[in-house]
C-alpha cells in the first residue's frame, strides 16, 4: 500500500461506497439463519451466571459468593457459563475462473462466494466467534471490526492476485490448532493440488468446511455444436466438434471430481457441499451453519 494520504482516502471512499450494501445484504442473509448467541451449556470461562455450587476443598477462595453463602450454612461458590470463542478463518476464491456467469441473469460465482463468506462471518460474529480472512496473517477478532477486515481482504484480493498466484487455492498460513477454516470456491483444480493444500491444515488438526460454488452451466454443459472452449486461467483450449456428444462424459467426470473432493473432505474430517449460483444463498448458508454447529460430518448439496 502506498502511504499517500490522498490514495488512502480515495480507497476509504471506495470501500464506504461498496461495503454497506454487501455487508448489509450479508447481514440480512445471516439474520434469517441466526439463532442468537448462546453459550456452551457448560461451566467455564464466561460472564453469564451458570450455577452455584457447594464449596469444595481446593476451590479458590476468591470464587466464594459471599452473599449467597450468607443466606445459609454451606458455603457456595459462583460458576459462570463457559463462553469460549472459536476462531474461524474464512477464505473465498477470487481467481479468474470464479468470475464466470453462464447467463446474464445469473450472478458470477465469485459474487455468491463473497456473499456467502461475509454472511457466514456475520453469523459467526453474532455467535461471538472470532473470524479472520485466511492467508492474510491476521489474528481472528470478534465484532464488526472482523467483518470490515474481511471485506477489506476481499477488496485487496483483487489487487494482490497475479498470474503467478491466481488464488485458486489459499496460501498456506500456519494456524493454531483447533481452529476452523471455511473455504468458498469452485475447486476445479486437480484433486492432488487440493489434497495437498488442505492436507497441510489437516495435519495441524484444523477442521474445515468446503463449499463448492458452481454455475449451473458447469453442471449441465448446455452448449451445442462445434465449440472451442477456452480456459479462464490460461489452462489452454479444447476444440470439441460436437458438444452434445461429450455431455454425458463430462457430467460423469464432474461427478467423479466431486466424489474425489468429498473423499478428501471425509478423510480429513471436513465437510463438503456444493452450491449452484441459480439457487438461493440462504439455503447454502443454512446448510453451512448446520455444518458449523454440528460436530462432524459431510453434507450433500444444500
Amino acid at each position: 500500500m502506498s502511504g499517500s494520504v490522498a490514495e488512502l482516502h480515495q480507497r476509504a471512499e471506495l470501500l464506504a461506497a461498496n461495503l454497506p450494501p454487501l455487508l448489509i445484504r450479508a447481514d440480512r442473509v445471516a439474520a434469517t439463519v441466526s439463532q442468537g448467541v448462546h453459550g456452551r451449556r457448560r461451566v467455564g470461562q464466561g460472564e453469564t451466571f451458570w450455577q452455584y455450587r457447594r464449596y469444595e476443598a481446593g476451590d479458590p477462595i476468591q470464587k466464594i459468593d459471599w452473599r449467597r453463602s450468607a443466606k445459609s450454612d454451606p458455603v457456595y461458590i459462583r460458576e459462570n457459563e463457559w463462553e469460549a470463542a472459536q476462531s474461524v478463518w474464512l477464505w473465498s476464491d477470487g481467481s479468474p475462473s470464479m468470475r464466470y456467469a453462464s447467463n446474464r441473469r445469473l450472478p458470477e460465482k465469485v459474487d455468491h462466494a463473497d456473499l456467502l463468506m461475509l454472511a457466514t462471518a456475520s453469523l459467526l460474529v453474532r455467535a461471538g466467534e472470532h473470524v479472520a480472512p485466511l492467508g492474510w496473517g491476521i489474528t481472528p477478532t470478534a465484532g464488526r471490526t472482523a467483518l470490515l477486515l474481511l471485506a477489506q481482504a476481499l477488496e485487496d484480493r483483487a489487487i494482490t492476485a497475479n498470474d503467478n498466484h491466481p488464488g485458486s487455492l489459499p496460501r498456506f498460513e500456519p494456524l493454531p490448532r483447533h481452529g476452523s477454516i471455511v473455504m468458498f470456491g469452485d475447486f476445479l483444480e486437480p484433486l492432488e493440488d487440493i489434497h495437498k493444500a488442505i492436507g497441510r491444515y489437516v495435519d495441524r488438526g484444523i477442521t474445515g468446511h468446503m463449499l463448492q460454488i458452481l454455475d449451473p452451466a458447469e453442471r449441465e454443459l448446455p452448449f451445442g455444436g462445434r465449440t472451442r472452449f477456452e480456459g479462464m486461467e490460461n489452462e489452454g483450449t479444447a476444440l470439441i466438434g460436437r458438444v452434445e456428444g461429450i455431455r454425458e462424459q463430462y457430467r460423469d467426470r464432474l461427478g467423479r471430481h466431486r466424489d474425489g473432493l468429498e473423499a478428501i473432505a471425509r478423510t480429513a474430517g471436513w465437510t463438503f457441499a456444493t452450491h449452484y449460483t441459480n439457487q438461493p444463498v440462504e439455503t447454502a448458508l443454512l446448510g453451512l451453519f448446520v455444518a458449523l454447529t454440528a460436530p462432524r460430518g459431510t453434507q450433500e448439496t444444500y
Binding site: D215, F223, F229, G236, A238, G241, G245
Partner: protein
Amino acid sequence: MVSIGALSFVAPWALLGLLALPALWWLLRIIPPAPRRVRFPAIRLIMRLVNPEESSAKTPLWLALLRFALVAAVIIAASHPVLNATDRVEGDGPLILAIDDGWSSARNWEDRRDTMTALIDQAAREGRAAGLITTARQSGGGQVSVSLLPAAEAKERALALQPKPWPVDRTAAIALVDAVQSSGDAQVVWLSNGLHMGNADAFAEALGKLGTLSVLADLPGDLPTVMLPPKADSQGLGLTIRRAATSAPDNLVVRARDEDGRVLARREVSYGAGETETELRLDFPVEIRNRLDQLEIEGENHAGAVVLMDERWRRRPVGLVSASERRNDQPLLDDAFYLDRALDPFTEVRNGAVADLLKRELSLIVLADPGRLAEADRQSLIRWMENGGVVVRFAGPRLAGERDPLLPVRLRKGDRKLGGALSWTRPARMAAFPETSPFHGIGIPNDVVVRRQVLAQPSVDLPDKTWARLADGTPLVTAEKQENGWLVFVHTTADPKWSTLALSGLFVEMMQQLVQLGRGIAADGEDRMLAPLRSVNGFGRIIAPLPGAQAIPATDILSAEPGPANPPGFYGDETSRRALNLSPVLPVPAPMGGLGAGIEPQPYQESRETDIRPIVLTLALLLALADIIASMALRGLFTFNRAAAAAAVLLAAVIVPPVNAPAQAQTLADGESPFDAALRVRLAYVPTGDGTIDDTVLAGLRGLSLVANSRTAAELAEPMAIDPASDELAFFPLIYWPVTENSETIPPEVAARVNTYLKRGGTILFDTRDEGGANFVGQRLQVMGRHLDIPPLTQVPPNHVLTRSYYLLRDFPGRWTGGRVWVERDGSRANDGVSSVIVGSHDWAGAWAVDQTRRPLYPVVPGGERQREMSYRFGINMLMYALTGNYKADQVHLPAILERLGQ
C-alpha cells in the same frame, strides 16, 4: 440475348457460372464452420474427453443451401435477366423511329413512350445508332431532324417528347424524310397515330426508302374521339361527337367544367348502332350555362376531346338605360327597379348610359323610357342592333310626348287610357300570344291589366310585327328585325304606373324570352391583338400558354387554325377571352387500315419489358445479410436471443418509422391506462433515464405511500412514472423530480406544460440528491429549469406550513441532512400562498426507499432510524401540504389568535 419463354438474358454467358455451383457445394460441405468460442472455467474436465462423433464439423445443410442460393442469385444477376424483353428490331442497321406526336397520340402516349424506350433500349444493347422523326411540328415550329445519335442520347430525346395539341403534318415530314441521305439499311419503325389523314400511304412509302419499315398503329377501337364545339341556340347547346370506328366504346361521358375546373355537370351519351357520330343536347339553366368554361370527354385526355367555351356560348348581361339616377329612397316608383327584379334571377343587369353599356358585350339593352336619346347614342344603338344586338324599349310618359324613330312601329301621338273615373272602358286584359311570337306558349294570368298604353299607327305589316296583344287587339309588344338584331317595343311602362304587367310573373317570363334573343355582341369590331392567355396541352389539360404561342388578331380568331404558333386555348384577357378550339379544323377521323406493299400495322405491345436484375440483386443482398447473421450465430458471436433481437432491431429500423409510442407506454405500468392515474390519488415522479436512480425513486415513493397510507387518511395508489412531455400532469398532487448531473434542459414546450401544472396548483419537489448541495447539482437544476416559471425562492422559514402540516418538524432530513430546503417566498399569493416548488438536496427518495419486504434499501447519513423517521415525516408533511394547501397555515397564527382570545 437468349430467351426462355418470357424471360431473356442480356448476358447469357454469365450463366455458365452456374456450372461451378456443384463445386461450391462440395467445398462448402467439406469445410467446417468456424467454432463458436466459449470461455469455460471447468475446462480441465473437458480437455481429455474423447468425442465419439464429429458430425457437426461440416457446414449445416441449411447454411450450405443459403450460400448456394446466394451465389446462384449473384450469377443470375450478372446475366442480367429481363422479363418480356421486346425484340422488334432485326437486322443490324441504325434504328429510325418515326413518331406521330400530334393531338391524337396523347390518348395512348404511355404505350408509345414505352415502345419507344424499349426499342431504343434494344438499340442500345445492340450498339445501334438511333434517329427520331416527329411528324407534328414542334412548339418552335420545326420538326425533329433525322440525325443519327447514340442510343442513350436518342432515348433522352424520346423521353422528352410530348404529344402536341395540333395535328401532325405528314406532308412536311415526307419532305424531311426524302431529304435524308440513307444507305437503305436502317430499321425504321413508325409509331403512327392510326389515323389515315389522306397521306399515310405516302409517308409509309417515304419511310420505306430508308430501310426495313414496320408500322405500329392503334387498334381502330382505340382511336381518339373528337368533340366539336357546340352550336348555341335559344334552347341550349348542341354537341357533335365523332369517333373513328364503330368498335370504339358506344358510351361516353361528357363533363362540363367551370373556370376553376369544377365539374358542373356530367352527361352520358351513346352512339347508335353502327354510327360514328352522335349528338348531345346540353340544356343547362342560364346560370350554369354562363359559367361553362370547358367541355371534355371523360377518359379521352387529348386536345380533340376538349372544347373551350367563350362569350359566344354565353348569355350575356343586360344593359339597362333609364331616365334618371336610381332612386334608392323610393325604389317602388322606379321602373328600373322592376326590370332589375325581373332580370336578376337569370342574368346580370348593368345600369348606365348607352355609350358606357356598349363598351362591353351585352345580349340585350333595355330602354326604360329614358326620354330622348342623344343622336350619337341612337346611331351606335342602331349599329349594335344591326350586328345582332337586341334593344327592348318601354313606353312611358316621356315617350308618349314625342316622336322617336328608334321604334319598330310608328306611334300615334299621345297615349290611350283605359278605365278610370271618366271612362266607360275597363282596363284591358291580355290576349293569348300569337304563334309567331317568341312568347308563344306562355300562360297569361288573369290579373294582368293594362290601363294605359301608346298606340301604333295601323299598317299592313303591323300584325306581323306584333308579339303580344291586348284583348281588344291593340298591340302591346311589337318587334322589328334589324339586320341581325331586334328592336322590341313594349307599349306600356316597365313599372306599375300604366299596367300591372310589371307586377306579374308573366313579366319575368317575357323578359327571359327576350334575353334569349340576345347573343352578346361587342359593339365595336376594332381590330386588336389577342395575346395567348391559356393553352390546351397535348393531353387536353388547360395550362399556361405553351412556349411559342403567339397573339392572334381579334378578327382572325374565328378562322385561325391551331398550330405551333396558335395552340388551342384562350386568347385575350380575363375579362373578354376568346376560345380557339382544335376540333373544328380536324377532319373526320378515319383509321388508316393497310398501307399497301405488304406493310401491315401492328398493334402497340401489351406487355412491358421488366428488368429483373435489381430484384435478383436485392435478393442476393438479403441472402448475404442472412448469411452474416447465421455465421455469427454459429460462431457464438451472439446467442440466439441476441441474434433474434438484433434481427428484430434491424427489421424495426427498416420497417417501423420511429414513433413515440413505446416511450410513452413505458411511463405507464402494465395494464394501466391514463384513466387509472385519474381515478386514484398517487404520487408521480419524472424518470431521469438513469435506471438505478429511477428504481430508487420509485421504491422511495412506494415507501412513502405505504407510510402515508398507514399513518394518515390519505390513500395513495402505486406511484407512477410520468413524462411531462406527453402525460397529463393534472392528476398528480405532488411530482417528485430528481435532478442529476446529466439532466437535460427542459424544452420550452414541455416547460409550458409544467408551468401550467404549477400555475393550477400542482406541486413539484426538485431533489438534487447531492448531499446537501455538495456536488453543485443545484446549478444543473438552474440550467434544466431555464424555461420554467419558478418564482423567487427562499429557505423554508421556521414557521412555514411545511413544518406543521402533519408533524411538527424543525428540519427536513432525507438520506442526507444539513442542506437547505427552498420554497416560494411567503409573499407570493398565487395558489393561496402554497409553494408550487420545493427544492432540496437530501435525496428523500433514497431514505424512503423500501424493498418488497418493506425494509429500507439505503442507510441514511449520518444515520440512525430517527433520521429515516424524520424523512418519512417530512414526506408526509409535504404530501399533506400538497393535498390540503394552506389548511394548516392558520396554526402558524395560533399563538396570535389565542393571545387575542385571551384578552
